[in-house]
Symmetry: D2
Subunit: 441 residues, 4 copies
């Protein structure tokens, strides 16, 4: 068995790994580096116009050259976040193989490829339910196991090969009281552990932080509390912004509204995730009076809203201060809309700690504050496992070997150091890889 | 009207203020500096043996000399935390006047005076329910208004005088979904505002932190989540430690147990608060099999527990790493008890950020880790209002003048700066006082 | 006497204040908000094309509307940093009055107005030596007193008026072993104090930081040490970047070279400050073989340098990661130049802590690291006074009243809080102003 | 060859390692855990009374059991800091072998063993000059190479064995302009590299911090600047406190005095290091009018000083806030001495970041501030190499294998990660060890 660390081993972002057995390859994830994407998009329609080759060079896309010419039998996507699936429109075509994920993941991918003008890739997309197994080839079966994260239908990927099982767990949290979907399939996870796991690829984003990650239930309580306090003021617009893909959070926001205000949902990227969620009945959207994703629709909506601010809850994009997102445009008064002293903005997110986000978000908050807006930040809990969750997971799976993924060296080492606490040896049974590394087992 | 800033204007701790009208005085709070108390107690029975004069000099007790000889008509205690009431045994006697608080507050004070060998002070203690008013003298009426904090029956104190109303709000949070007691009495607070507030004394502990303080409901969800995950491991002792006075938190811990393990509650200071809570039916304690407060009882309990660790949940003192608390003694193996690899400790608290606590707590965690204990820290939300809560409060009360209290200069200035955002002027309508300051209005 | 707080009372940047006596006005400083300037310039030639009105609205320029129509008798510039003088080309013309500063300050202003196509303003520029006094009008005399900062010929401005003396001290440090120019004129400062100072306007940039700011001598030792270590490696290019206006630092870099490598100085903004310094014999530039400020010249220089990297020391702009600076262009390989494993970059600066700089600088360092460049950061000491320097200054000047300047509210309050330690009262003898505030004395 | 990691691989402190070749062993360093020592000494004469066995158990001394019974041919001490040599009185006797170090190191060790009542150990102490080699046994030669750190005569230890050379470099900085002694012997270091180094043991205390550590020359400039500014005030006592062993810093303080004030040097631990330095003509002490180490002498000195504070510079112990040090006693007014408003204290040190120090130091500063003392902190540069120094060292020595030492796991990993940048592999050519680890090569 040969393992390829392709992306996400030098950085948080652009996840991509591959496993080769007897000349057949399965790819896990195909993501982009989102912060670099935002920088490029800052200047307009740049991303589309830039060649794939150039995007690889710029570090926006993972460098999959080492796989070119190989017999790839499937691409498996663990969940539908952009840093796990958004390179599909650029890189998948070459491999002419099935693209496998849970139904919701597949729906998002279909939209992504449509939006980037490679709609013919859609025909390769094949949904597989969590809890089910698909035979991929002579050497590979893929199994998806239900997992919790910050997007619907996240899955642990188990690749059962003729040379043993590889578990790909990138990203996850252990949420025993999820507000959307089921809790992790502990029973199956423990069975995998008993049957033997050869390699565990596991995210390291928060492996250096102590304790457990709190349940999404905590965020739900905080969202409700903050929104209801905002409503008590009775006057002014209330805006809530969160990750477009965080359907559970959107659900919490909408439910906290209790039908009191009319809801407008504004922003292209929100629709990307909300539409499939609505279609698959993961999100109840009856209270949403306006849904607008294109600039013209957003402008019209904001004009309408500005005539009776006290009646509206706006759910929108822009929590990272992205200059082109709706919230930033509102703050810059690019639409027929002006913030005022009675308006309130709730950020149901944290700031993803890369400098471009910090700069953008800081500028956004400055603009909002100057217009007298009251700001509520950090109404949020993370979707990434912390140190003790990782320990639980390692104890359940008891892998022979661990490859920390999804982080820079410091993060990978944090997970490796945890593995040492659990009896593994750095350099031997736990390996700190870098993009481009190849390991034979 | 003359206002005396006596304690808590240079530091977080030893709160004490007083209002004088026509030669009559009412004192609000009479607290100690808890971190210094712990330092002194570190050496044994020091505190008792040290004279009141010396304790004032050392900064453990507030310096109330300025009030000596004055006609004090009442001491009103807002809630039963030590930094608000624990100087009563040392300083109250001189004033020979009623000591007023909510029923729970009064019960704790009675125990405090008994433990410090001044039981005769008990006869001065006079409970007053939140929502009620008592006439104190020709010039003073006192009203207690239901408030939320991190101890039962906290109250906003309104002193109605012949020269206007003083509101003393130290400490509080705005919890709309409390897990014990009722939410703040917003209706009455707004009425006070409408009728006119001359001076608002308001805590500043977290006035520099943005947003709202989350509800205790959030802590309840986290406690349950962490405890249930700890139980899932099935083996080993589970220990939870929190503030002895935080009855709502203790309730969350006990309820999360769902009758699954036997509960032992160990530690003198816990009893100080739990016993009155049980008597007043604020806390259901049927699942608590052992309650031990003296050293001998604790030792016996731990010996018993060590024989079947898997069956026990221990709730105990020591979350700040206090060297003399039960948890520290357990960690130092002073009892017939040894921690082992399967044991887990949950700190349902934050570390009060003074150096002595940080040093103590760090030493405790080091000891626990060396014995292989799994640690869960920060399963907690604060009991102190943050910036936007303070803003809501100022808007509801619309005081003529604001005195930030309970903090060092930096904290007082944070509240003052918020007040400026709301239209007040530092040095004029918001005043940054220091211990010993006197203001005439 | 009437005092106008025009710019630099809500932010670090765009300093501008004014004093009115009997209908005559003197303006102190006329600066821009540099970080916003950089943001705007990010898109190209934007700044020039944007109207003054719009730049005021965007917060790039101070809003001096309140002075329009008044009889301004002089504009005094304390030193030649952009946040103190770069609004002159935009705002000065209206006032048709002398623009006064030390000779070096005046030389820089002349270049600034030439570059921004208002060369006729030059004729208003009138140098005044430190240590000298000029009569401005019936009501005003201006005196410049030698001070130390991070640019040559900084001055404390003393406005002697018929209603008392105003001292404008923005910015400064107390450097007793400066490496360029003389130490502060303590004798005269103490005299001013003895004669009576009505108002002291004093910078607050680092007033919250304890201790003294170290002498520039410390930076000189560090620069030499780092550069000599870089040279010891013998191979590869060495690049040093610092503030273009920091002539003392450039002097340290050039002297540390000891004639060993050829020096190229690249970048437009460097020339702005170096040329007058050379002409005034403040900086010896004989070892500088190439000086290039335009894009074409820089490109040619870099092509030449890239053929024998081991022989060159490049001094250049870009220490804040400004995307259009030479260093950023080099890192992005926009010129016929490639960094390699043996190259070293020394940042003789700190990152001015605003988000846009942090994002830019972080991106620059990432690019450099990816190309294998060894980076030496923070070879620097600050040019701004710290808390104990401010205390010394207040004790020497003994002003009746203090207005902290050059900072957001937090910084102004830090200085105010220091003043309280020295016996002043916030709201009375020390005032925390905001842009637009007017104070009558 | 067998390598024993005995102490300093889990912590900053109690350094001890050993190398075995053909049944013969050489020990490098024999240090204590200083912060724990301080905790124990807090209670009085505890340390002496505690058994060696207990001190090992408490983690104060390294656990050398694995070496018991082995044929140890020498103990080599790299420099005279307590965390490298202070376990000699407790652990060395058993091995009945020479104790080797540079002359200054040996002088300090002789005092240490005398003070702890094992004077007979003195006869084993054998000085060896830097630059010289001593044959120890059939299998071992030891060479000391001149190195810079924060104590005189620090040495890199090279053990030349029949199976290759081990370099033990713990601790060091690369100071090219030291203010006492010579710069590192780069010529010999490079020769060692060329001849082949099998194992490099290298400190990791600051390996995670970027850049170079500045030269002691920087501290000297800052000390002079701060002291001269303190003198300018003319009134009040000036106190300077630094590491007792930091003779170069003491030299800077004394030279900055320029004979202006009388100097008193107070504190037992200062004498421990100053006396040998004076005898070996490393420090000129003529200006020191009073030297007192015992309590009675200190008391008498302070009484004298308090009568004419303006005439004195006191150099003393207590910069970490150690409760029993002279400065703490002065602050607590245990002597006939009172601090006042004109007094100034200069801390020429940083706070060693362990909680007990932070708590002690914070308490000390609080006491000083309450008495109106002006405090100057951090007038200091580190004695430990930073990341780029380590890189230079690795490039010069080109070892086959690297063992990071003197740090917890995080610090060791920081050095290991640097080694990976230089081409080493974690787990193979760079090994992250723990106390008790044994490596065969």
């Amino acid at each position: 068995m040969r393992f390829f660390a392709i992306g996400g081993y030098n950085e948080v972002g652009k996840n991509m790994s591959a496993v080769e057995v007897n000349g057949e390859v399965v790819i896990c994830d195909m993501g982009v580096q989102v912060d670099k994407l935002i920088e490029i998009e800052g200047g307009g329609d740049e991303y589309r116009k830039t060649s794939t080759h150039k995007l690889v060079q710029l570090g926006v896309l993972p460098d999959d050259k080492v796989l070119h010419g190989k017999k790839v039998v499937a691409i498996v996507i663990g969940h539908a976040h952009l840093d796990h699936c958004d390179a599909v429109p650029r890189l998948a075509e070459r491999y002419r193989c099935p693209i496998i994920g849970t139904p919701y993941t597949c729906e998002v991918i279909k939209r992504v490829v449509r939006d980037e003008d490679v709609p013919h890739i859609r025909k390769h997309v094949q949904p597989l339910n969590a809890g089910e197994v698909a035979v991929l080839s002579r050497n590979f079966e893929v199994e998806l196991v239900n997992m919790t994260h910050s997007i619907p239908q996240s899955a642990l990927v188990a690749l059962h090969t003729s040379e043993g099982t590889v578990v790909y767990l990138n990203d996850y949290k252990l949420d025993n009281t999820p507000t959307l979907g089921e809790k992790p399939d502990y029973k199956r996870i423990k069975e995998l552990g008993k049957n033997g796991v050869k390699i565990l690829v596991i995210e390291s984003v928060r492996a250096g932080e102590p304790g457990h990650t709190p349940s999404e239930m905590v965020a739900k309580v905080m969202v409700k509390d903050t929104l209801r306090k905002a409503y008590e003021q009775r006057r002014g617009l209330v805006v809530a912004s969160t990750f477009a893909s965080h359907i559970a959070r959107l659900k919490a926001i909408i439910e906290s509204n209790k039908g009191e205000r009319k809801i407008a949902m504004l922003g292209r990227s929100l629709m990307e995730y909300v539409e499939p969620a609505r279609e698959m009945r993961l999100l109840e959207t009856d209270e949403i009076v306006i849904m607008a994703k294109k600039r013209r629709g957003v402008a019209a909506a904001l004009e309408k809203i500005s005539r009776s601010k006290d009646d509206w809850l706006v759910i929108t994009t822009g929590h990272q201060g992205e200059p082109k997102a709706v919230l930033s445009r509102m703050a810059r008064q690019e639409h027929a809309f002006k913030f005022g002293k009675d308006d309130q903005v709730i950020f149901s997110s944290d700031v993803v700690p890369v400098p471009i986000n910090m700069a953008n978000r800081s500028e956004l908050q400055r603009l909002l504050k100057n217009q007298g807006v009251r700001i509520f930040d950090g109404v949020h809990v993370s979707g990434h496992a912390k140190r003790e969750d990782d320990r639980d997971m390692i104890r359940m799976l008891q892998p022979e070997m661990i490859f920390p993924s999804h982080g820079d060296k410091e993060k990978l080492l944090a997970l490796a150091s945890l593995a040492e606490e659990e009896g593994y040896k750095i350099g031997h049974t736990v390996r700190v890889l870098h993009n481009g590394a190849i390991v034979d087992r």
